[in-house]
């Protein structure tokens, strides 16, 4: 914060009055003990109606997930973030399935990341029985049995508050069901004590407790305060319901966040307003790793509303999973528009590392391609690939490219932060509040126990770490302006700088085919930036399609673009390579791409082999595979899977894409048929359908339109005039989705389905126009034919 303004005009009126702060805290009564803080009355009037964040009402909670008011309203605390995937509803369903409360009186609310820093998880949540993936009542892997943090998952109150890896159901279901069951048992115990009858004579439904043998009834609301003081004598004995006993889960439930999202009442981070709040606009060095050399605050200091300007150093990469963003300048003003327009006119000199400024896409792509001819790091080597291919009847080789891609969520990055000498308050939509809590502590020097994160809805996620340094930047500014709430908001252009990208990648696949067209050897080489989750995850062709000899090697490049988990992660690119190549092989072999895949799966001994065949067969039937199509229309099939190579959770799907291309070259995705493994059961099938519909268009955009290029070390496409996003006119007119049951729990649904739109469109282009395109996006090519 070396360049803080010499002329900050803080006159008191803008600053939150500390006495008001303390008075409000005290007024919250017992809640203050937990460190809860109420915004002042005016702030509440402006923002609290419908605020989704943690709040104490004074009613004692039954457990950390559940508060029941005397009128039977049930507040369910949600430890993941709603970003469109339906977790606000599905997490509540998991709790309420067991609680057996009246679903119409359920109100979700975000869990407190502050309590998570202060309290440990209850012992009973550690108790995961059963056999994981294959036990109908099991919770997947028993990640939490020990108090040892597993995969970065702590043993704090809410365990994982992250929203990532499609894992909210996979990792959370068991203990969320337990949370509901534990509360239900205690409500029954409380009623039993009241009536002096054995709890075994009581039953509960829709928040009403009834006594068998008498006509006595009571409600959850009436006994909740007693239940709060009634510990369960043996929580380890509580069992959760398997899918066969579910009455709420597994059935389509309308999403509980939807009503507020059609009236404009839903509260996102950008909507937070505080008394005395100032706005910050930010401009970061457009070349990652660059910083601010100087800026001339005098040029803008007299503009209306302008308060101060700050140099924000490059955020500590250790707070951002190792990613290096840029140094930046922030201008603070009374309104955001004042701050933004002043910043537009602020002279800034950048300090840009020369080697980075020399980078552009063509050169970087060339580096990756030439890496493919070097021996890379061998990940899998089975049999003798080289001799198998050398002795093959024919050899097929193809090289594919996938560009840098951002998440480009609709809500630009923002955070509102108030730092005082006692505590930090952050209002933010955040996919990893536990990490933000740590950032707040590191930047302000206050303890994590004194960090309060008020979670808001998030206007799109699409990848946890892509959030970038918005919280860190806001924390730096607010720390320099202690006592004043600072609302940082990025422009769209800034959001393209503050995000991580999926790594640009290339892959070369080479197969030797026997006289009948079956692969005798397959070699796969990929090259990507190491940090992109690209080279190592989700790619092992041999473990899906049978080939007796197989080698997979990967090559990494060290570029300066921060790469991270974008929707679909590495799988999105890898399935494009794999499924495109399978189509090429089937065509080369003169075989039907559906039956070719089916046979090559059938020849494996993979644990999920039969489910993959089921998916292929079902989707072929759904789409009437093989039936005639008009000229200029083609179908392509693909298999998508996660986890099919090992015993355990998996998600399997097969899709058929029907594509038309006019002679002039206008392509339309006409129809998508989807067969999706639902494991023992889905939680909310409605949310799953919505996710699939959205992902189809997401990967349609990847296939047809989207790429970020680098010029002079900068990302070129930084707003929607250059970075194109499809509109309604490109949405497929027909989407058919069918689920099929399997004997394992699903791996997750959040992000990696419908990657096959990419290979499907690619193959349809080939079938219709004869052009085999291997570099995404396809719309950079002339698709006319005939």
């Amino acid at each position: 914060m070396s360049h803080s303004s010499s002329r900050t005009r803080r006159n008191g009126a803008g600053d939150l009055d500390r006495r008001e702060f303390l008075a409000a805290s005290a007024a919250a009564g017992g809640a203050f003990v937990l460190g809860f803080w109420l915004p002042s009355k005016s702030a509440q009037a402006a923002i609290v109606a419908g605020a989704p964040w943690y709040e104490e009402t004074g009613t004692p909670e039954v457990n950390a997930w559940i508060v029941i008011e005397p009128d039977d309203t049930v507040t369910v605390r949600i430890a993941q973030t709603e970003l469109g995937q339906g977790v606000w509803t599905s997490n509540a369903m998991m709790v309420c399935e067991e609680l057996q409360c009246d679903w119409n009186k359920v109100r979700p609310q975000y869990a407190s990341a502050n309590r998570d820093a202060r309290e440990s998880a209850p012992e009973w949540t550690l108790n995961v029985m059963g056999e994981g993936a294959y036990d109908p009542a099991g919770g997947g892997e028993p990640l939490f049995r020990d108090r040892e943090p597993v995969r970065g998952i702590p043993d704090s109150l809410y365990r994982r508050m992250r929203t990532n890896e499609a894992s909210s159901v996979r990792d959370g279901r068991y203990y969320l069901q337990l949370a509901g069951a534990e509360a239900r048992e205690r409500l029954l115990l409380a009623a039993a004590a009241e009536w002096d009858v054995p709890a075994t004579e009581l039953s509960a439904k829709d928040s009403v407790i009834s006594h068998r043998g008498s006509d006595r009834t009571t409600t959850y609301g009436a006994v909740a305060h007693l239940a709060a003081e009634t510990p369960h004598p043996d929580p380890d004995a509580i069992r959760i319901k398997p899918p066969g006993e579910w009455t709420l889960m597994g059935r389509e439930q309308k999403n509980l966040d939807v009503p507020a999202k059609v009236t404009g009442a839903a509260v996102y981070g950008i909507d937070v307003r505080m008394p005395g709040m100032k706005w910050a606009a930010v401009r970061a060095c457009p070349v990652y790793g660059g910083d601010v050399e100087s800026f001339d605050f005098d040029a803008i200091r007299d503009r209306p509303g302008v308060r101060s300007a700050h140099h924000l150093p490059i955020p500590d990469p250790s707070l951002l999973r190792g990613r290096e963003f840029s140094g930046a300048v922030a201008v603070v003003a009374d309104t955001w528009y004042q701050a933004k327009t002043a910043l537009d006119d602020l002279p800034i000199a950048w300090d840009i590392p020369g080697d980075r400024a020399a980078l552009n896409t063509a050169g970087m792509h060339g580096t990756l391609l030439s890496a493919l001819s070097q021996p890379g790091r061998v990940r899998v080597d089975e049999g003798d690939v080289d001799s198998a291919i050398a002795g093959a009847n024919r050899v097929v080789e193809a090289t594919y490219s996938t560009p840098y891609l951002p998440r480009a969520r609709m809500e630009p990055g923002n955070a509102t932060v108030l730092v005082t000498d006692e505590r930090v308050d952050i209002w933010i939509g955040d996919q990893s509040p536990q990490e933000t809590r740590r950032s707040a502590s590191r930047i302000t020097g206050l303890a994590e126990q004194d960090v309060f994160i008020h979670l808001c809805h998030l206007g799109g996620g699409f990848g946890r770490n892509g959030n970038g340094p918005q919280a860190e930047q806001a924390l730096m500014i607010a720390n320099a302006n202690r006592g004043t709430p600072i609302h940082l908001l990025w422009t769209r252009e800034e959001d393209f700088i503050g995000t991580t990208y999926r790594a640009m990648g290339v892959a070369r696949l080479r197969a030797g085919l026997d006289a009948e067209g079956w692969p005798v050897g397959l070699e796969v080489r990929t090259a990507m930036q190491e940090d992109g989750f690209g080279p190592t995850s989700s790619f092992d062709v041999a473990s899906r399609y049978f080939t007796p000899n197989y080698r997979f090697s990967n090559h990494t490049a060290d570029f300066h673009i921060p790469c991270g988990t974008r929707r679909g992660v590495g799988q999105a690119a890898h399935e494009f390579y794999r499924e495109s190549f399978m189509n090429e092989l089937a065509h080369a072999a003169g075989k039907d791409p559906y039956l070719y895949r089916r046979e090559l799966i059938a020849r494996t001994d993979l644990p999920h082999r039969d489910d993959m065949i089921k998916a292929l067969d079902l989707v072929a039937e759904m789409a009437d595979w093989g039936s005639p199509l008009p000229q200029g229309t083609a179908r392509a099939i693909a298999l998508e899977e996660k986890g099919a190579e090992a015993r355990g959770t998996a998600t399997i799907s097969a899709m058929i894409h029907t594509v038309s291309i006019s002679r002039e070259g206008v392509l339309r995705l006409e129809r998508v048929d989807v067969a999706l493994d639902q494991g023992f059961s889905l939680i909310n099938p409605l949310s799953v359908k919505k996710q699939i519909e959205g992902q189809i268009v997401w990967f349609y955009n990847d296939a047809m339109h989207q790429a970020n290029t680098v010029l002079g070390g900068r990302i070129v496409e930084n707003n929607f005039h250059r970075f194109s996003v499809s509109r309604l006119a490109e949405d497929p007119p027909e989407i058919n989705i069918q689920f099929f049951e399997t004997e394992h729990w699903m791996r997750g649904m959040g992000h990696d389905r419908a990657t096959s739109v990419q290979s499907g469109i690619g193959d349809a282009i080939f079938q219709i126009t004869g052009k085999r395109l291997r570099d995404l996006p396809f719309s950079q090519n002339d698709l006319s034919w005939g």
């Binding site: 009442a265 955001w336 969520r409 630009p412 707003n719 509109r727």
Partner: protein, 155 residues
Amino acid sequence: MAFDLEVNGTSFSVDADPQTPLLWVIRDQVGLTGTKFSCGIAQCGACTVHVDGQPIRSCSFPASAAVGRSITTIEGLSADGSHPVQLAWKEFDVPQCGYCQSGMIMSAMALLDKNPDPTDADIDAGITNICRCSTYHRVRKAVHRAAELLKGQGA
């Protein structure tokens, strides 16, 4: 500069540079935050409001140009979600993250004002808002449903 704006039938006195985009005056001075900012360059439609019944992208529309005209935001459709377009949206559970939906609904409303019985092609051509969650499939269905509900209301 101080001027008056009529938003959802109520007059507000605001003080802003007249070139300030209407979006920021609505969000920060009038205090209605249902209208969203996303691109700032009239590309995405998240900021769509009606001025004298016409949909405009308020991020690129100077506030002063709305003086003396009647502005409608998402909050002006109905506070309780009972407007037919909102009912249709709920019936199809359209929103995902929801961030684009105020603008999407205002665009749908404008389309239905002009064309009470739109075909799929009319909807595809008439609504050009971006939804990054790609709720388009349900938007199309919900617009048809809203058209039905609006007709029923008129009858």
